[in-house]
Point group: C2
Chain length 322, copies 2
């Protein structure tokens, strides 16, 4: 974990030093603000670890790593507009603190910045890096569109939901890692396996997110437990509950949706889900993706010792309580 | 002009065949719609002409040309949101026909598409193409931000205004042409001169736009003459009028801003501007940029004959009536 901490600190310094002009202030102040409010910086760390895995100096992947983090922040700025979110990491979102136009445009310019950073990598890697990055960026947009479409549909299947989270969040983890592998000149098979590791770890991570919303320890969670239930958000828990419910339980679920006492709604939903085995079903789905991720990692042709940081990171992500 | 027509037709066919998936429909239908509502396709033609100028086959620049056109359309989709524009080329804008979120996200995905097209060019040109394209994309965003900032300021100077239109619209013409030159392996000096030709032609074109708004022949203009005056838009005419006005004329300008009869407002503004020599002053400014553009073109090391299509295009743009 010490290694991960060193990487995070290095990345924070680099992000602070990102070359953002002073003027126009309404374009760049929001970006300085948003990039500084943090996050786990998990994606750029994956790129550095992806390069290190194949015995190359992770510094050689620094610009690609920053590119992924900058791209991720661009998507957050635009997603916050679409979700009408007032807060991100307990700070005002850009469209709230400034306005809609500024949030759109500063997001756009941040997106270009991601490409500028990517273009700073060694030229011989550019075509492969660009192809992967472009494909991933398009998938992330498609995932966000599906997420918005799903909120208006009542017939979303579990495979559709998994596909949506794969696109919206998991492909970027695969991309971050594979970029590191490209820069380390890894073989096509190793690259593909590392991508799969990231992608399926991402899906497991996202399912974990859905489970934690209802089953986290309130003292450690850092936000309201049951927020998704209160908002009637389509999560894997909700879809699994619909699938597992008998007619009577389905009727109770309908009643619970109308419950206006939030504390009661969360408590009773949790009790019913537990009774129905919803948590176990979701954990089984999560474990499937986690296992697939670990098998993909195992298949990569490097020593087990060199895989240790990625295994540590995967363990950390899967055993978090918030 | 026959040559330009052939290029436009070829580009229209290519744009029709752009590889846009069917699903998610809410992401890609708006793009099919928007890309099909046309425009002059002036920017991609510039890229093709830029390659042809140096004796290379313009087809080799086709993907870069499409990339510029796709980027331009991305900026229009997002600008229309920021400007709250209901119509573009007499058709509903994306945010009106669909909604805000869809306009943001489909714009984003179109932006990635521009990079995908660019990445299809020969790999050895990618670093230079990317550097130019990224720099230009950032400048276009900066120009849009300045435009929005200026609408809230009362002390915008003429040099500031020219700098804004340079960034918002003219650098993309320079970029389109220089991309063609990069693909044709032109020398650094020729590339720079071709960029300057495009940039200053763009500024002249934009000033022409401002002049036409008030002085176009209503029968040929295709939209309401005086639209900028009615909206009190900060154009070069307005800034020049402020500069040239004596105290009494300045008072009349203030009164005219309050005039609610649109026909009278346009008529009296035009009369006052003519009296003050506003049109001539703007035409002089336009001619300065046009002349600089032509000098830059002249300096390029190719036969005069080979410059003919660019000269024809420049003449056409400068003598248009709409």
């Amino acid at each position: 974990m010490q290694e991960l901490k060193t990487y995070t600190e290095q990345l924070e310094r680099e992000i602070e030093q990102l070359d953002l002009p002073q003027s126009p202030a309404n374009l760049y102040d929001p970006l300085r603000y948003f990039m500084s409010i943090g996050g786990k910086r998990m994606r750029p760390i994956l790129t550095l670890l992806g390069t290190q895995l194949f015995g190359k100096n992770p510094s050689s992947a620094l610009h690609a790593a920053l590119s992924v983090e900058v791209f991720h922040n661009f998507t957050l700025i635009h997603d916050d507009i679409m979700d009408e979110a007032p807060l991100r990491r307990n700070k005002e979102t850009v469209h709230k603190k400034w306005n809609l136009s500024i949030a759109i445009l500063s997001g756009d310019v941040l997106f270009v910045k991601a490409y500028q950073l990517l273009a700073m990598q060694e030229h011989r890697h550019l075509p492969e890096l660009l192809d992967l990055f472009n494909k991933t960026a398009i998938e992330v947009c498609e995932g966000q569109q599906l997420d918005m479409d799903f909120e208006k549909r009542n017939d979303v299947s579990i495979p559709e939901y998994i596909e949506m989270i794969r696109l919206k969040t998991s492909v970027l983890l695969g991309c971050a890692l594979e970029m590191g592998a490209i820069i380390a000149d890894a073989s096509a098979t190793d690259r593909k396996n590392l991508y799969e590791f990231g992608q399926h770890l991402g899906i497991a991570f996202q399912i974990q997110d859905d489970i934690l919303d209802l089953y986290a320890d309130p003292d450690k969670f850092g936000k309201q437990v049951g927020g998704d239930v209160i908002a009637d958000k389509k999560t894997l828990l909700k879809l699994k509950a619909e699938e597992l419910a008998d007619p009577i339980q389905r009727e109770v679920l309908r009643q619970l949706e109308k419950e206006t006492d939030h504390t009661a709604k969360v408590k009773h939903t949790r009790e019913l889900y537990t009774l129905m085995g919803v948590r176990e079903a979701c954990e089984a789905e999560m474990k499937e993706h986690y296992d697939f991720a670990m098998q993909s990692l195992q298949a990569i042709h490097v020593n087990l010792d060199d895989k240790a940081p990625l295994i540590t990171l995967a363990d950390y992500l899967m055993n978090r309580e918030h």
